[in-house]
């Protein structure tokens, strides 16, 4: 039996408590910003001044000019000038250099002959996001780098194609991954973490503070309690969505191809599913500490198996099946689909119904777990 007055009683109480709990409230706003800054800037931004080793077989003005031009792009910082390629490789293997520039021994002679010599750049591309921008900076470098050195009879080469060719070898991870994946994905990650955490302490907090006894002594029903505790956080979830979308647009210039209205509409399912999962945890956990542990226990595989960290299609089939269990997996498809590919209702529907199913199943589980007595 559901009554509005009891639902409202719980709802209003939760809002007041949320407002009083400044630290938690600050965290709800702070977590998305912190994650965005960490993932968006500190971790995944356009890395500059990357350590570079130069193996130069000759000390010509052309070689010096090239290295200086390299450093002027601000992407490269020459940290070592080993004599042999083997030494340079060891530096890369140890992670002390991210790039090795090989200047062949007849580099200047062949430029002078107009033979367009090949200059080899080896990149540690195990983290493609880290090497990508630096490598693209090379593309135009060879056009201008030697302009000052091409004098006299060589001046004619300025107008033509680049006087030499840069060939890039991406080592460890030949294909790149698109960076635009990260920020929309973060919306799902932030919501998963904060929403589950907040409701997972919902009932355990009542129990630990001794208010559970009073709550149970009132005629309130489990569904009224659950709804009253979930609805305030749906609003908090929307605040987080807004923060992330604004940051995505203005800080990270993430393309937003699809309908934001559609995204805003669908995200409520994802938020509610996570809140219901947290609420279920809180009916199982004995203490707030346990509730937090359960949140982390759920959060880690969510990140790892949902396709946020690693490409979903790259995982073995069993892991993909496991990944389907997590709401984050489906939400990532929705949010990336809408923002990056411009998906409409028809395209996201296959990911929407699993969210609804998860929400329904988890809610039923929570209602069954909710104990109306102190037994």
């Amino acid at each position: 039996m559901f009554t509005w007055h009891r639902f409202l009683a719980v709802l209003i109480k939760e809002f007041v408590q949320m407002r009083r709990d400044r630290l938690t409230f600050a965290m709800m706003i702070g977590v998305p910003i912190m994650q965005l800054v960490l993932f968006g800037y500190a971790i995944n931004s356009d890395p500059k001044r990357l350590p570079t080793a130069v193996v130069s077989a000759e000390a010509s003005p052309f070689a010096r000019s090239f290295v200086r031009a390299l450093e002027n792009t601000d992407y490269y910082r020459v940290v070592a000038q080993p004599r042999t390629v083997a030494e340079a490789d060891a530096l890369v293997a140890r992670g002390q250099a991210q790039f090795v520039i090989n200047i062949p021994e007849d580099f200047s002679r062949r430029i002078q002959r107009g033979e367009r010599p090949v200059l080899l750049v080896e990149a540690d591309a195990s983290d493609p996001a880290a090497t990508g921008p630096a490598v693209s900076a090379l593309a135009t470098l060879n056009l201008r780098a030697l302009d000052n050195d091409l004098t006299g009879t060589l001046a004619a080469q300025k107008a033509g194609p680049a006087p030499f060719e840069v060939r890039v070898h991406r080592r460890y991870n030949p294909e790149g991954i698109t960076q635009y994946n990260i920020v929309p994905g973060l919306m799902g990650v932030v919501l998963t973490m904060t929403m589950i955490m907040m409701t997972s302490i919902a009932m355990t907090r009542e129990r630990e503070r001794g208010t559970m006894e009073n709550l149970l002594a009132t005629p309130v029903t489990p569904f009224e309690v659950m709804l009253g505790k979930i609805v305030p956080y749906i609003l908090v979830g929307y605040v987080q969505v807004a923060v992330i979308l604004l940051a995505a647009k203005f800080l990270f210039q993430i393309p937003m191809v699809g309908s934001l209205l559609l995204l805003t509409g669908v995200v409520v399912l994802f938020i509610a599913a996570n809140l219901a999962i947290g609420f279920t945890f809180s009916t199982v956990a004995k203490s707030q500490m346990q509730a937090m542990q359960m949140t982390m226990f759920f959060f880690l595989p969510s990140i790892l198996l949902s396709g946020f960290m690693f490409p979903f299609r790259g995982m073995p089939v069993w892991a993909q099946w496991l990944g389907e269990v997590f709401p984050l997996t489906h939400f990532l498809r929705i949010v990336r689909g809408i923002l990056l590919k411009g998906s409409g209702v028809a395209e996201i529907l296959p990911s929407v119904w699993p969210l609804a199913l998860i929400l329904a199943l988890v809610s039923v589980a929570a209602m069954r777990r909710y104990n109306r007595t102190l037994d």
Partner: protein, 318 residues
């Protein structure tokens, strides 16, 4: 259960339970408990710590499911109709269980909404005014002193006009003045027809109840009015008075081993000596009275004498 149908309790019996049993794991906390409380009664519930008072109260209002037994509360079955019971009962928990991070007004408003109290805002306002807390209505409940917490908690219990009040050690840690006010209010409510079941450790509070039940180690040991309880115990008590407190202390240990003496408890420079075998005790006391400096006289057994005696006699054998 009995084959003979038990007559339906008369309308004025508010709590009627029998055979209530509750086990936690393999520990039986309440064992075959029976209780009848009539409308308008203030029923005192006494017993040492851990005797099962709180567990019994929780079973009566539907917060715990009994493992055995049956009964009714306000005419509703305690096993199947706890939702109905909850609507008509005011339960004040032993530990303060309102929200400490909500203000007094917000707490009362929350409870009033829960019970769908008619004319809610006016009701909350009046309650705050009656408590004399108008100027502190926005104060967080957690910052109140013990006495004020107790007053606010009681006011919260009364918001929905319950027919039965269950008070679990309501005055623990409250100063005597506040306790007196509290009991005056309980009597006023009972006069208006409210039934009150109150657990306590204080003898002066027990003496303000209409009837008592004494529970120890999960078993109901005695119940009835104070004279009934005292008479039923069949305890004879003597008071030995000595001008010298030190010698009284030495005497306590000696006299406890004397024939007929089951209990010797010092009260200042007097010693209360009790026993159920009146003849033996009388002989022992006659012997003590011959000693110099000691004045011995027979007194009425007090409630406290009776309870301490019952508690000692019923200690479970280790």
């Amino acid at each position: 259960m009995n084959a003979v149908a038990k007559p339906r309790p008369a309308n004025d019996v508010v709590i009627d339970v029998e055979g209530l049993t509750k086990r936690f794991g393999d520990k039986t906390v309440v064992d075959g408990f029976a209780l009848q409380v009539r409308r308008g009664q203030i029923y005192g519930f006494l017993g040492p710590n851990g005797s099962g008072k709180t567990t019994t109260i929780r079973m009566v209002c539907g917060l715990l499911t009994p493992d055995a037994g049956r009964g009714s509360c306000l005419g509703h079955d305690i096993l199947t109709e706890s939702a109905k019971i909850k609507r008509e009962v005011g339960y004040m928990t032993q530990k303060f269980s309102l929200y400490e991070d909500l203000s007094i007004e917000e707490n009362l408003d929350f409870i009033a909404r829960m019970y769908d109290v008619r004319d809610r805002k006016r009701r909350v306002r009046e309650t705050i005014a009656r408590l004399g807390l108008e100027s502190r209505r926005s104060q967080l409940a957690g910052t109140l002193s013990g006495g004020w917490k107790q007053r606010v908690a009681l006011a919260a219990c009364l918001l929905h006009d319950p027919q039965l009040l269950l008070l679990d050690e309501p005055t623990a840690g409250v100063d005597p003045g506040a306790r007196r006010d509290f009991w005056d209010q309980i009597h006023r409510l009972a006069g208006e027809g409210m039934t009150v079941l109150v657990s306590t450790h204080y003898m002066d509070e027990a003496e303000r109840c209409h009837a008592l039940a004494y529970i120890a180690y999960g078993k109901l040991l005695t119940h009835g009015t104070i004279p009934e309880v005292v008479a039923e115990a069949g305890l004879a008590t003597y008071e030995i008075e000595s001008p010298d407190a030190d010698s009284l202390f030495a005497l306590t240990a000696e006299i406890e081993k004397s024939p007929g003496v089951e209990m010797a408890v010092p009260f200042g420079n007097r010693l209360h000596v009790s026993g159920t075998d009146a003849a033996k005790l009388k002989a022992t006391m006659a012997e003590v009275a011959r000693r110099p400096g000691l004045a011995v006289r027979e007194v009425d057994s007090s409630l406290e004498d009776v309870f301490i005696h019952m508690m000692r006699m019923n200690q479970p054998k280790a």
